[in-house]
């Protein structure tokens, strides 16, 4: 007997993500899903972003990692509420993991919730967690060939932060080639060259992000 299903494999996740999104809409919290490969500098970017935005916005953070609470400890030092999710092996966060840790955050007091996904250029792009936008980080030491090798994440992201630009003189990273490849995949993407370590270019990213957070608040 053949049974036609046409059943989405991620259907259960998408239902939970929709519930998360509805809750975030009710509370007026803008949710950012930050993705990249390991070591590109997501946590440092979050630290700088918090420093820049803390005077104007109430920020919360969810840290996703396979194990350890090291990133959460770093973020907690900035004085913002942070929850650590350990996936115990899973290479991405899903909507259920986000839902299960929301009671540890007071959404009524937040303007922006930043979710730092597990370091991985493939899976996090597949899983909707109910976020307002996906943003990815690519560091110049990883090489400019990544958009063509891992196109989905570039296609799904609204912004790309090209991190560690202070190291450009020591690499063969080609910024023009990168931009051309990224725009071929996603013509509407915003590109921000930054050095989180040196706090270069972070201001422009923060201003852009603030506008989006405010726009959601006003709705």
């Amino acid at each position: 007997m053949q049974i036609k299903l046409v059943s989405s494999i991620l259907g259960a996740n998408d239902t939970l993500a929709a519930a998360n999104r509805e809750l975030f809409r009710e509370k007026g919290v803008f949710v950012l899903n930050l993705m990249s490969s390991p070591g590109s500098g997501k946590t440092t970017i979050l630290e700088r972003t918090i420093e820049h935005l803390q005077p104007q916005l109430n920020i919360g953070v969810i840290e996703g990692d396979i194990c350890t609470a090291r990133d959460a400890e770093r973020i907690a030092q900035k004085g913002v509420p942070v929850v650590q999710i350990n996936t115990s092996g899973a290479c991405h966060l899903d909507a259920n993991m986000i839902a299960s840790c929301l009671e540890d955050l007071n959404l009524d007091e937040l303007d922006l919730l930043a979710v730092e996904n597990v370091g991985n250029l493939v899976c996090p792009a597949e899983f909707d967690i109910g976020e307002d936008m996906k943003v990815m980080v690519l560091s110049v030491t990883e090489g400019n060939d990544k958009p063509c090798k891992y196109p989905l994440m570039f296609r799904e992201s609204r912004a790309l932060l090209v991190n560690k630009i202070d190291l450009l003189p020591y690499t063969n990273f080609d910024m023009d080639a990168l931009e051309q490849d990224v725009r071929g995949i996603n013509s509407a993407i915003q590109i921000f060259p930054v050095s989180a370590l040196k706090d270069e270019g972070v201001e422009a990213w923060c201003q852009w992000l603030t506008q989006l957070v405010r726009r959601k608040r006003e709705k």
Binding site: L5, S8, I9, A12, A90, N120
Partner: protein, 117 residues
């Protein structure tokens, strides 16, 4: 890294299959047909490997085979409505050069049908 990705997806697939098999009263699954778009970055060999590994622990599926149909990426130009095959992940209309392209096909990820008795 890819294998982890396929493992998570295969767990989702087997959940969908098991649930449906129970509701249709199937006691043995002989075939699972999947449709996956090229945008999904799924490696069929990894998927097959994860299927073989996971099905061993599920008597319902242990004898089943997997068939995967891969769909090419097709785009539709939002300016001139031209439909075309997206090659090399270049989302640019070959007719009017516009880069505002909707994905018509290529992001599929579903169980098409199951066979069993």
């Amino acid at each position: 890294m890819n294998c982890m990705h396929e493992l998570a997806l295969m767990q989702g697939i087997l959940d969908v299959v098991t649930k449906n098999a129970h509701s249709y009263g199937l006691r043995r699954i002989t075939k699972i047909k999947l449709v996956i778009g090229k945008l999904r970055a799924v490696v069929p060999d990894s998927l097959e490997f994860c299927f073989t590994t996971l099905k061993e622990d599920i008597p319902l599926i242990a004898q089943g085979e997997l068939e995967v149909e891969i769909k090419e990426i097709e785009g539709s130009c939002r300016r001139c409505s031209h439909q075309f095959l997206v090659e090399g992940y270049r989302f640019r209309c070959p007719q009017c050069q516009c880069t505002d392209i909707a994905v018509v096909s290529g992001s599929e990820l579903y169980v098409d049908y199951i066979e069993g008795d």
